[in-house]
């Protein structure tokens, strides 16, 4: 049940794009975003890219135990972020979401503090880097087990529906996640309940080393929407504006009571799977290079330049501002120091039970 009024059709053979590689507007409708928001989207992508570079350095310095590069995913992530009502809607993210939470308003210091495991991390240094969580932003705590957040996301959306809030849940994940049983269980429950949720797959066609053709017999993710009676949208995730417009439509559809949708955003992972990975074992360099030419940041920059909304001057300023923000965030995170050892025994339950208190004493005397 797609509305006539809607701009995009589900199940298109080709990924939806609104700006061309060379930066022209190619959509059948008018651009309706102001210069400020366009520039903000661009700079939100720059911040995401900068995280790879800055945290990568901290990782090599041993100040961060692990990084998950998101270079190549920024277009999809920033498009998703701008389609949400931050602080009102809920996001159930996964570890590769970097530009996404930051563009939603997560303070850079919180991201950095979480990665460094400092006391400035609102989740008290309880998880590996790249597992953000923000109650203030309705940003559900990311968990490592792939797809384990899908059923909770479905439940959140079902709650939104039965309580009649006009909120929407957005849930992100990679292509590999779609093979997990929990992914199916959660998407199917949301579909059966017609809950207001958008499942957004960042398909970089690899699950660590496992290529897409070994992941599933289907030749795409969006076709899997058929299994749940929901529309499946196929989007060029290297096109931030296409990602934004399609997500807006799917989110609006859900908000208006037309139920869930599955959106596949085609992206690429420029870096290794993580700082522990050596992707040269399984990925031809030529493939990586080919995708680098399709960089989502360069693409939007061409578009902005054509429209006279961006130039080298602006770029220099932005780079400088972002670098300064990072220096500041790292400084704050370090200044906050470490979480105390006894914090290990807290938040298992609302209160520390006797048995745990005795174990704490066993350790701390």
């Amino acid at each position: 049940m797609i509305l006539e009024s809607q701009r995009f059709q589900p199940f298109t053979a080709e990924p939806i794009a609104v700006i061309s590689e060379s930066g022209e507007w190619i959509a059948p409708f008018e651009l309706d975003l102001g210069p400020d928001q366009l520039r903000r989207m661009y700079q939100d992508m720059l911040v995401g890219r900068a995280v790879d570079e800055r945290l990568g350095r901290l990782q090599r310095q041993g100040k961060v135990s692990f990084v998950a590069p998101s270079g190549g995913h920024e277009g999809a992530q920033v498009g998703i972020a701008h389609a949400l009502r931050a602080g009102h809607d809920w996001l159930f993210p996964y570890y590769r979401d970097v530009a996404l939470p930051l563009a939603m308003g997560l303070p850079l210091v919180e991201f950095v503090a979480q990665a460094m495991g400092s006391a400035a991390d609102p989740s008290r240094a309880r998880q590996m880097p790249y597992h953000v969580s923000s109650k203030a932003l309705n940003l559900f705590s990311a968990a490592s087990p792939i797809a384990s957040h899908i059923p909770p996301a479905a439940g959140c959306a079902i709650s939104m529906k039965l309580r009649g809030t006009d909120q929407v849940t957005v849930c992100t994940f990679g292509d590999g996640a779609t093979s997990e049983g929990d992914w199916h269980a959660g998407v199917n429950f949301a579909g059966a309940q017609g809950a207001p949720i958008v499942f957004a797959c960042q398909n970089n066609r690899y699950a660590i080393s496992v290529g897409f053709e070994k992941q599933t017999g289907a030749d795409s993710i969006y076709t899997k929407a058929h299994a749940y009676g929901m529309p499946g949208y196929f989007v060029d995730g290297m096109d931030v504006l296409a990602s934004y417009y399609v997500m807006c439509e799917a989110v609006q559809r859900a908000r208006d009571g037309f139920g869930p949708a599955l959106v596949e955003l085609l992206v690429y992972r420029y870096g290794g799977h993580s700082s522990a990975d050596d992707d040269s074992r399984y990925r031809p360099r030529a493939e990586v290079e080919a995708w680098r030419k399709r960089d989502p940041i360069a693409r939007l920059r061409r578009f902005l330049t054509r429209k006279g909304l961006w130039d080298d001057e602006a770029q220099k300023e932005a780079d400088a501002r972002i670098a300064a923000e990072f220096d500041e965030a790292v400084a704050q995170a370090q200044a906050a120091g470490d979480v105390p050892v006894e914090a290990m025994f807290e938040d298992v339950f609302a209160d520390v039970p006797e048995r745990l208190a005795r174990q704490r004493a066993e350790l701390l005397g």
Partner: protein, 320 residues
């Protein structure tokens, strides 16, 4: 007991509109054991949700509902079927508060009929409580009487942490009991109940095995042996104080549970007792338990620790 559970769910749903029920066949069917009977007619499909056939969906969705502000009571049709949802229980339910530094919590109740004696074969008879008790972040209760079921279910629903609520299915229709009118008659999680006071041997049990333990206690009393009977009721946290106090006084203890023996709840109780009371022990704590086999079908009765096996163990600790 099952009527007590249905009534309690009704009372709590009436008290707090955030309480919803979700599971397989909990709607019109009222649950395969009728634990949710009449709730659908009274509260409708928004608060009594028939889920798809997926335990991961049931438990996982409950987590999201709870994070969003509801108080879901999830039903797993048989505890044997919790395993498809085990990752949700271990990775989401048990760890949400911890991993988010207390920002998000999962105040849910996961109800499940457990235990054998119903000729259900190994997939309608298992006692998986050890898996839950071993998982940090979960509270686990296993009442054996209708009033404990009511009082503990109320406590579980009102608790800010997740509670696995196990129900001894073979006692569902066993005992009738007058329930207090008090709508807030809570039974605290973590407190055991002394069912019988005695001086010769301490019998510790819980859930379905309380029935056989009580029968064994009767028989022992007739033989002039004075048993002290403790119903744990809560398994995580469990009432170490009540158990240790009794064993310290009596010096002999037999631990009865139908769950498989190895690395079980009673292994923990036994280990804790010796850690704390070695010198007061007049005999080794003995476990009478289910066997380390899958739950059988033909030998449904023989698998369960019945009065005869319990009394043999008591004899051993008395003769020791």
């Amino acid at each position: 007991m099952v009527q007590s559970i249905a009534r309690t769910l009704d009372e709590e749903m009436a008290r707090d509109e955030r309480v919803v029920v979700v599971g397989e066949d909990v709607g019109k069917r009222g649950g395969v054991f009728l634990a949710t009977e009449k709730l659908f007619d009274k509260y409708g499909p928004d608060r009594v949700i028939d889920s798809p056939l997926s335990e991961a969906a049931i438990i996982g969705a409950a987590v999201g509902m709870a994070a969003h502000g509801l108080r879901p009571v999830a039903e797993i049709q048989f505890s044997d079927y919790v395993y498809p949802g085990f990752d949700q229980l271990v990775s989401q339910v048990a760890k949400l508060r911890y991993r988010s530094g207390g920002q998000f919590t999962a105040p849910i109740v996961v109800r499940m009929p457990a235990g054998g004696g119903v000729k259900g074969g190994h997939h309608h008879s298992q006692s998986p409580e050890a898996h839950f008790v071993h998982t940090a972040g979960l509270k686990v209760v296993f009442p054996s009487t209708p009033s404990d079921a009511r009082g503990l279910l109320k406590s579980a629903i009102r608790d800010d942490d997740p509670v696995v609520f196990m129900e001894p299915k073979r006692l569902y229709r066993a005992v009738k009991e007058e329930l207090p009118d008090d709508l807030d008659a809570l039974v605290p999680i973590g407190k055991a109940a002394v069912r019988r006071v005695g001086d010769d041997v301490v019998l510790v049990s819980y859930g379905g095995s309380m029935a056989e333990t009580a029968r064994a206690a009767e028989a022992l009393a007739e033989q002039g042996v004075s048993p002290h009977v403790i119903d744990l009721r809560s398994l995580a946290p469990w009432d170490e104080e009540t158990v240790l106090e009794a064993v310290a006084r009596v010096g002999r203890v037999v631990l009865v549970s139908e769950a498989p023996r190895t690395a079980s709840v009673m292994s923990e109780v036994a280990a804790t007792i010796t850690e704390e009371l070695l010198d007061q022990l007049l005999a080794p704590p003995l476990r009478v338990s289910g066997f380390d086999t899958p739950y059988p079908y033909a030998q449904d009765r023989e698998y369960l620790p019945g009065p005869a096996r319990i009394m043999r163990a008591v004899q051993r600790v008395l003769d020791y």
